[in-house]
């Protein structure tokens, strides 16, 4: 099949469902919106897609102050004002294009090859932000009034958007996306993920580690449950310390600090649950 391209990359394990959804999003030319608990690999997915397809990745990190237009281009008026008074050797004050700087979206559009564009944490911006992007993502072009010029995508970028659910996204925007919610990996998938990072890990150690890890995640009162990246760090510490299976099976969590990042959570576990 011609459309089947993405199948995970060597350092990222994508479940079967995710693979087919990624491929459908690419084939339908729709942005892929990904949600999920922190640490389920939303951001890494874009990198994995880029690696697997051999394309360049451009990341647009959204902040609470981000505006949609910034992704297209920025007209640096202050620089121009400054140059008009004090002069510049590199820029010509009379030429407005010297003060137009393309944003990530603009970069992706003018690139000579297809790009994977990651719009990271779109929910951080203002509620209107996604709606302002509709035109750009639909027709893949934008207009720069200062230059009276239309910037059109040479190759339609593969757009991956992540959200942490902090704000509701507008319906009109959602209708255009393909959506996937990444569940927290179950033990089987987690096993595969750990093996990518530690191919030589012994089976009995891995089993003991995962049992402990999922036991800790059972505590629903934790403000921040340990996620995949914490598990990977924890295993590194455990392996370095040369711990054996017997020690792991005892009560308690050695090097708990690698798994629990919040002081409140640490207090909760040590004081109320007697875990150390």
């Amino acid at each position: 099949m011609g459309f089947e391209k993405y199948s995970g990359s060597y350092d990222y394990i994508a479940g079967d469902s995710l693979q087919s959804i990624v491929n459908v999003a690419i084939a339908l030319r729709r942005p892929l919106l990904v949600k999920g608990e922190p640490g389920t690999g939303k951001t890494l997915l874009a990198k994995s897609i880029a690696d697997s397809l051999g394309l360049r990745l451009i990341t647009w990190n959204i902040k609470s102050t981000s505006k949609a237009i910034d992704g297209s281009y920025v007209y640096d008026t202050i620089q121009r004002l400054n140059d008009s008074r004090f002069g510049s050797k590199v820029r010509n004050v009379d030429k407005v294009e010297d003060y137009i700087v393309l944003g990530q979206l603009g970069e992706a559009f003018i690139s000579d090859e297809q790009i994977v564009l990651l719009i990271d944490e779109i929910d951080k911006a203002d509620v209107e932000f996604p709606n302002d992007l509709l035109q750009e993502l639909d027709v893949m072009e934008f207009y720069i009034p200062e230059l009276q010029k239309i910037v059109k995508a040479k190759h339609r970028p593969i757009v991956i958007i992540t959200s942490n659910n902090e704000k509701e996204l507008p319906d009109a925007f959602l209708r255009r996306c393909v959506f996937h919610f990444i569940e927290f990996p179950d033990e089987q998938l987690m096993r595969d993920i750990v093996k990518v990072h530690y191919p030589d890990i012994k089976e009995n150690i891995l089993k003991a580690v995962l049992d402990k890890f999922y036991e800790l995640r059972e505590y629903n009162q934790l403000k921040k449950k340990p996620s995949t990246s914490e598990l990977i760090d924890w295993i590194l510490v455990l392996l370095k310390s040369g711990i054996n299976e017997e020690q792991l099976k005892q009560k308690g969590f050695p090097f708990l600090g690698a798994l629990i990042k919040k002081e409140q959570d640490m207090d909760y576990l040590t004081k109320f649950k007697g875990i150390s």
Binding site: M1, S17, V24, L28
Partner: protein, 389 residues
Amino acid sequence: MFIEFYFLLRELKIPVSIKEYLTLMEALDKRLIRTSMEFYYIARAILIKDEKFYDSFDLAFAKYFKDKEIPLEILEDLIRAIEKELEQLKFDVPREFYEKLYSMDIEKLKEELRKKLEEQGTEPHKYGDQMVGTRGTSPFGAGGEHPGGIRIGGYGGMQLATKIAEKRKFRNYRSDRIIDIRSYQVALKKLRNLTRDSNREELDLEKTIDKTCQQFGEIDLIFRKERKNNLKVLLLMDVGGSMDPFADIVSRLFSAANKSTHFKEFKYFYFHNVPYTKLYRDIELETHELTAEVIKKLDPETRVILVGDAAMAPNELTHIYGSIHIWEETYTPGVVWLNRIKEKCPKSVWLNPEIVSGWKPYTRGVIEKIFPMFDLSIDGLEEAIKTLV
């Protein structure tokens, strides 16, 4: 195709639009979907845009596809595909398999396929030599290496996908469940919207500088709304018996919201069934303040949130001396007190942890006429907050 499925989703209050339905048709048209598992995941990715609807989708999927037979035309396609592939691979096929296949009639073939799918359970299958799946050497499946492998395309055999759907593992993401510890964080996020109640404006220095620069020094002042939280909140909770756990969760919820957003004023009291002359400071109903005093001191802009099941004997609500507690002097019926609260603070709501379908208590009907009533669920909370802000 699947138009009834679309309407079923709409019936379950999932916001699916025609555009999304057409996108799914496009995906089918472009032959992007080849197995029932893919159909399940891809239909979900295209039609559903929030994990809180995953569970409803699972319900609809299981309901719609459970007893669906493989559509006849697809089955015929399947047979044709098998014949075509056999033709191509005639020389490589092990003789016994070739004979076995030709001795099977459609019914038998269907049966065999169904049996395999059921044996296989719900795990997607790869690289196997027995089961239906991808990249295997079994005679059934896609992309396989069995010399005479039959490609199973289309979306027959929905049983496999419905099995996934029937697991309903996204039940906990629903937003119309009554709030519990698990959905606590989400509820808290919704409550954060309960902020900002001010029309005062302050100078936006950054925007002013920006605008001034854009106009080459022509000064332009830009104002924005002040961000201070001026909201006052009064929480009144029904306690006693079955309501206790809810009162506990709600009071913790609002205290946490208060800590993060700092309401200008935040008070809470308890009552049993309905407030009468006294509002209690503790869940044991020991220390109290007079309801009349509390109401007198209320700022009319205060948002009053009452939590309770609104279910009691009618006389407890509407009759004089209605309280079941003998220590309360209750010449004034509870319903009058409720009306007084509503009159003083028009922006008030009632949250109810009891979800009713069909018959509802008489007293609930009476109270609903006084306060807008919402379910104590994420959805309900969201609606309630919209009413309050």
